[in-house]
Symmetry: C2
Subunit: 343 residues, 2 copies
């Protein structure tokens, strides 16, 4: 198996990304290859530091450009043909031939990753638009939300495919038995929501291969009502970032109040917060797959640490071994697409 | 001033709603009137219990029907012409003549309130679609989010009006000085988001009467970046319910972990949680106004308690005294609407 990592993406790049990648060597067999993509000098230095300069399982692809986190994706890809994201996506595409990587991973600019995947990985047969599936830890267990930003203006048929793809992903990779799929809306009744939601609801209800449990409201995400929640990328992205921001804000508020009340109590509270963070830790899921891409691309959180990248490599290898993309192709081919759009 | 309250709406109706309404008598002058709308027997009994049977400032409108929280709004209004929500909205409309109420309040079915307002209150001159403006408590102070569900498929022009109306509301009623207005999106760059967001962004940027600070991502809601956040009703509703659900879930998780770790510590933690709840309490804001309606309708949370209703009555009276609707008419008339739609 060949795994390519963009070592230049994310807030803690390249150090944390490189560290997490090299830590993952223990997961690899002798035939596997880790392809590190980025500033060659930095990569070679870190390898030498770890006495890995002769490690046969590591290949280095030197690149001269980096797409920043806030750059407009399409322009960035055009202006930076030698960026680590471009090279990573190329490594995952057909045109890479013998050198094609089974898994490609980046913690960089999400929009650029999605756009580069569109160009180099392209789409699985039958899939109209890829979607990003993030796994959120909740009190009741992990919840997969798809899409969180790849496709801000989807059609009902796209959301139907997100339901199919996410259910397969949740079942196989996260090992949830017949995952309950819900559609994000603003009320429990059929007539609520908007036209997109009402149309999608019909498609999901009619698809007997899904364990569809109906609408989920915002409050249901953390209520254990569903294992997979399907939504358009705009709302999904707001939800994801809101959840992160609110959780951080609440912990800050609680810490502040406890400290004001009783500094000794704050000392006792700290390890409990750490324990909660550990239990509900997105780092363990590694990255979010771009479901529907013809290949395996995992997009990691911008704040990824070394262990996030190691976890992403583990998840990517598992994704490949389980043949999730083949299962997706089978599932979507069972439902004739409305029209084969050109991306 | 005349204030009408639907005493049959909400999870704790009629008791809590009645109690909160009668508690508000101390806010009223001798000329003011409280119009209690609902089951006449229950209302008269409660008044007698409190020795208020001869209170001249209370009027009772007996109704025979109740719209349940989960009923599809439009059907419910058609099938229940004598519902407390219908009668409340009627009381706020022009056709009520001398009996017209300055403020109408309900903690019942939000969709039914919005639909009834459309029929009886109608719209302020120049406003295309009313929007619900909820005030969310955050660590950095209150944040007004509009719309949270009245209009799930708005046009850019509607969102522009939400920005204008919410800014006036935040400035006058919540007393925020030149409130910073942000537009909910999924990234900081101009090219991100969807067509609705990009079009609205242009309108807001060009409106020099607004203190527009650009896009807000999901994480910014609790970050103190803006005082007013404008969004379409679908995402706004998901955001509102997600925030409630996540906050409740996090407190539950923390309480659970603390109890597992050290039951004594849990005892000490409880009053701190109560203090946080009290500081960040939506009850104090009473209800969410339907901005743009030709009248003052406050829609209260389904779980409203007596003090929520009292707070809503106080807020409604303040809203009326400050002439917020006149200011809204002035503001929207400054921007010629794209087209005068029929609701």
């Amino acid at each position: 198996m060949r795994i390519a990592i963009d070592v230049m993406g994310g807030d803690h790049s390249p150090d944390a990304i490189l560290a997490g990648s090299l830590d993952a060597l223990e997961l690899l067999s002798s035939d596997d290859r880790l392809v590190l993509i980025g500033d060659e000098t930095i990569i070679r230095e870190e390898m030498a530091e770890r006495r890995l300069q002769d490690e046969p399982r590591v290949e280095v692809v030197g690149t001269s450009q980096v797409i920043e986190m806030a750059e407009p994706p399409v322009n960035a890809l055009r202006e930076k043909p030698d960026s680590s994201i471009t090279r990573m996506a190329e490594a995952g595409g057909k045109r890479a031939g013998d050198k094609r990587c089974d898994v490609v991973i980046s913690a960089g600019n999400t929009g650029a990753c999605v756009a580069a995947a569109g160009k180099y990985l392209r789409r699985l047969p039958g899939v109209n638009r890829p979607g990003i599936a993030v796994t959120m830890p909740t009190f009741f267990g992990p919840v997969v939300i798809c899409d969180v930003g790849a496709n801000p203006e989807p059609r009902p048929h796209h959301l139907h495919q997100y339901a199919q793809m996410s259910a397969i992903y949740a079942q196989k990779l996260i090992e949830l038995d017949t995952p309950r799929v819900a559609l994000m809306s603003i009320g429990g009744e059929e007539g609520k929501g908007n036209a997109l939601v009402r149309e999608t609801h019909k498609l999901l209800k009619d698809d007997t291969s899904l364990n569809y449990v109906g609408y989920a409201e915002g409050r249901d995400i953390f209520d254990g009502k569903a294992d997979v929640i399907v939504t358009e990328g705009f709302t999904g992205n707001v939800v994801l970032k809101l959840a992160e921001g609110l959780a951080a804000g609440l912990f800050r508020t609680i810490a502040h109040e406890i400290f004001e009340e009783d500094p000794d109590l704050a000392m006792k509270f700290e390890p409990i917060v750490k324990k909660i963070y550990k239990k509900h830790d997105y780092h363990e899921y590694g990255g979010a797959p771009l479901l529907g891409a013809n290949g395996i691309m995992l997009i990691c959180h911008g704040s990824s640490e070394a262990r996030t990248i190691t976890a992403a490599i583990r998840a990517g290898m598992k994704y490949a071994k389980l043949g999730i993309n083949d299962a997706i192709v089978d599932a979507v081919s069972a439902n004739e697409p409305a029209s084969e759009e050109v991306a």
